[in-house]
């Protein structure tokens, strides 16, 4: 027993990820935490998307289930779980059955290497970014099998569109990623890294996020990735595989109930996954704003108070809206519910202000905040843009993003080499 406790405690003092430290117990805990966190994030995202989109479109969105529709995603989830699971008579049952699991597996597995902090990742692979790109593109397989196994025209066209789209945008995406990897090699030893944690540490060492590196090269790379990642996750304006007005529901037309919700889960966790890549590669991952410029214990304290204060603000918003609730007896339960929600948020905020928690949580907070900004972008796109046509989508991918990516890669290499040579001539290493 004592040995076991020691085994558990020994990790807490190390500065490695559980996978890196070889600690199976903590790795399992982290896996469960990531899985639970991701599921909660998808549920929250579902509610937020409907709410934000509704407000963009001069309507209210869900308002009935719980205060301001807060329980709507849970009601939906229960509905989906209780629905009949239909497998069409003409479908290939086994493949039809397997397809959603492939998609979900691919979407969740990538989170093994996502660094929420210098030690907050399940493991740190030396090929982290390759692993992420590789595994996330496996979801194409699931989509193609789903479309084919349905044995129906609309899903088939949806699946074909989807595979073509995902494969072609991966090329541009890869080029943008390689340009970042070139940037990581700007150090004294001239060694780059593919590790997700290493990339963030390189940004810290070089003193700037890669989005600002070699201005405007970093920015261009970021934009290429930001466009490609929307196409990669089949979201508006590139949501052709599930273009409602054309293909009814694309590759998951024939799916219902739980299987359909798996596709839904996979889509949203894939969005979070690619956003995490973008945040890690260009926006400094877990780094707080100005980690090198605003240093010292005072600034550390100020920035570490952010998570707690954010939750406290959310709690204040809840209480404000509780006060604004109609005073009718029919709204009593909802008012109490909203107040209760505010209390929970406030308690979380207070817990996050405790010094011991504060220190451990601050990295995760900054990472999550940056990812949340991307999630908002996704919703904003959906509210703003019409949908591209298939040939135009391919044109954007192959004729615009790919050449831009190639030029970007070459330019990054040239500028990087110039910087290194200059540093050598100066005799001092100054990237």
């Amino acid at each position: 027993m004592h040995a076991f406790l020691q085994y558990i405690q020994s990790y807490l003092d190390s500065d490695k990820t559980p996978g890196g430290a070889g600690n199976i117990f903590w790795a399992t805990v982290y896996i469960l935490l990531v899985f639970a966190g991701l599921s909660v994030a998808v549920i929250a995202m579902n509610w937020l998307e409907r709410k934000i989109l509704a407000h963009m479109q001069v309507r209210l969105g869900p308002m009935r289930v719980g205060p301001h529709g807060l329980l709507q995603p849970i009601a939906d989830a229960i509905k989906l779980l209780l629905k009949e699971d239909i497998i069409p008579a003409e479908a290939d049952a086994v493949v039809f059955w397997v397809a959603p699991f492939i998609v979900v597996l691919a979407a969740f597995t990538v989170f093994v290497v996502v660094p929420f902090g210098p030690t907050h990742a399940i493991t740190d692979m030396n090929i982290g970014i390759l692993f992420m790109l590789g595994v996330s593109s496996l979801s194409v397989l699931g989509i193609v099998t789903a479309g084919w196994a349905s044995n129906s025209h609309y899903p088939l066209i949806g699946a074909l569109r989807s595979s073509a789209q995902m494969v072609s945008y991966e090329v541009a995406m890869g080029l943008a990623v390689v340009s970042v990897i070139l940037m990581t090699s700007l150090n004294e030893a001239s060694t780059g890294t593919l590790s997700m944690i290493g990339i963030v540490q390189a940004q810290q060492a070089q003193g700037e996020w890669f989005i600002f590196k070699f201005f405007p090269l970093g920015l261009v790379g970021f934009f290429i990735f930001a466009i490609a990642m929307v196409a990669e996750t089949n979201r508006a304006p590139f949501d052709l595989p599930e273009a409602e007005s054309e293909l009814t529901a694309g590759f998951h037309t024939e799916y219902s109930g739980f299987r359909w919700s798996l596709f839904f889960l996979a889509e949203y966790s894939a969005m979070i996954a690619v956003s995490s890549i973008a945040v890690t590669l260009w926006l400094g991952g877990w780094l707080r704003p100005f980690p090198n410029a605003l240093t010292g214990p005072t600034w550390d304290l100020v920035f570490s108070l952010f998570p707690g204060i954010t939750f406290l603000l959310l709690a204040v918003m809840c209480f404000y809206n509780t006060a604004r609730m109609p005073k009718h007896p029919l709204f009593r339960v909802q008012t109490i519910g909203l107040a209760g929600f505010g209390v929970v948020l406030g308690l979380i905020g207070l817990i996050l202000l405790i010094p011991a928690v504060r220190v451990r949580i601050t990295d995760i907070f900054w990472f999550a905040a940056k990812v949340a900004a991307f999630m908002y972008l996704y919703i904003w796109y959906r509210g703003t843009f019409p949908r591209y046509r298939f040939d135009q989508l391919m044109k954007v991918g192959w004729k615009v993003l790919l050449p831009t990516g190639l030029v970007l890669l070459i330019l990054t290499a040239i500028v990087g080499m110039r910087t290194e040579l200059w540093a050598e001539l100066q005799g001092a290493w100054r990237p």
């Binding site: 025209h153 508006a236 007005s245 703003t384 843009f385 298939f390």
Partner: protein, 383 residues
């Protein structure tokens, strides 16, 4: 009019070869489909994503309106016409009432004429707003739908205040109007005009220069003026192809000749031009409404019409410019209280036959855009 011999041949019978001799894919789109605007069924022959031909199957909403007319008196049939193009019910009523008035040889008094024009133009805007919202929705922009419906609501409120109904208004009677306008009608209309003008700019801001919107609509579903005339296409679809043909100017009915307005036309006859033409028509409708509401004369609202209508034996064809195109009524009277035969020339039905010409060689996604841009209402296609 154009000499039929100079019309271009519409050789619809020559199918293209599929790429690599692959099998062509036949897809049944509709009657239950989110983007066919009701119960239109389109059978698509596809080569991958390319449309090689299509066929419309209609009749899912057939209610036999024309046959019903033969067993109703002229007055009793009046509410039925509202159910054809149910998003532009006022226009339907205007066409029918004017046709019967022509047959009876009576004319509605000037006050009734002005109010008719105001309501019809309001209805044209409501119809165009519904078109814009659903068309943009089909192309993937979900937000304009809510904006247009928000503003369309104001028009429907005016209708509701005027006659108690929002969609199937039955606003007009043969010989004039049944109801005098309510107190504050003119103020409501003026308020609406000043309310909606910036809103139209708002729709245009969302779409007109949107890069994706341009790519999705420019050069899509092109139809030349010649082909459009040959197929009998009318309304904004014809005008977008560069043919300046608007019945409000060409054969003035009601009292449109008293109003000053332009006919917007396009050049290329593609989906974008049709969009631009309809957006311009919004503004022209506003102009007409503004002029009409300033000058509503005092006076009676009903002409002297017999209680039991027995039009003289004869036939009449009267057509008006409905929001979707030429809406014609052909009425044969045998001198009794009931029409011997009524035939309606619905614009949606005639415009729909251009779908094949406009879609051939385009992609599946364009079929959706073209169905949206034709602005069909299945209630009117099937009657």
């Amino acid at each position: 009019m154009t000499d039929p011999n100079t019309l271009s041949p519409l050789d619809l019978e020559t199918p293209d070869k599929t790429f690599l001799d692959a099998n062509e894919l036949v897809i049944n789109m509709g009657p239950q489909h989110p983007a066919t605007h009701g119960v239109l069924r389109v059978i698509l022959r596809l080569d991958g994503e390319k449309v090689m031909g299509l066929e419309c199957v209609i009749g899912y909403l057939h209610r036999g309106v024309e046959k019903i007319a033969e067993n109703r008196t002229y007055t009793m049939f009046n509410p039925y016409v509202d159910r054809m193009d149910y998003v532009a019910a006022v226009s339907n009523g205007l066409g029918y009432c004017e046709a019967v008035e022509k047959l009876l040889n009576v004319e509605a008094p000037p006050r009734a004429q002005y109010i008719r024009v105001i309501l019809t133009e309001l209805n044209r805007m409501a119809s165009h707003q519904l078109w814009l919202g659903t068309h943009a929705l089909d192309i993937g922009a979900i937000t304009p739908l809510f904006y247009t419906f928000r503003d369309r609501e104001e028009i429907l409120k005016i209708f509701e205040k005027y006659c108690g109904a929002r969609l199937t208004t039955h606003a007009f009677r043969i010989g004039g109007l049944q109801y005098e306008t309510y107190e504050g009608f003119e103020k409501d209309v003026k308020n609406f005009v000043s309310f909606v003008r910036p809103k139209i700019d708002e729709y245009e801001e969302l779409l007109t220069t949107n890069r994706i919107w341009l790519e999705r609509t420019k050069g899509v579903g092109t139809i030349s003026g010649k082909d459009a005339i040959a197929l009998g296409v009318t309304g904004p679809v014809l005008r977008a192809s560069g043919v300046k043909w608007d019945l409000r100017k060409a054969q003035p009915y009601a009292n449109y000749k008293n109003f000053d307005f332009d006919i917007p036309i396009g050049q290329n006859g593609d989906t974008y031009d049709r969009y631009i033409v309809r957006m311009a028509e919004f503004r022209q409708s506003l102009r007409i409404i503004e002029q009409a509401v300033e000058n509503i004369p005092e006076g009676p609202i009903m002409a002297k019409v017999p209680k039991v209508m027995k039009p003289p034996v004869g036939e009449i064809y009267h057509s008006i410019e409905a929001p979707k195109g030429e809406l014609g009524y052909f009425i044969v009277s045998d001198g009794s209280t009931q029409p011997y035969r009524i035939r309606v020339r619905p614009p949606s039905f005639v415009n729909l036959q251009a779908l094949d010409v406009m879609c051939r060689g385009q992609l599946v996604a364009d079929v959706i855009a073209v169905i949206g841009t034709l602005d069909i209402v299945l209630g009117e296609v099937d009657r």
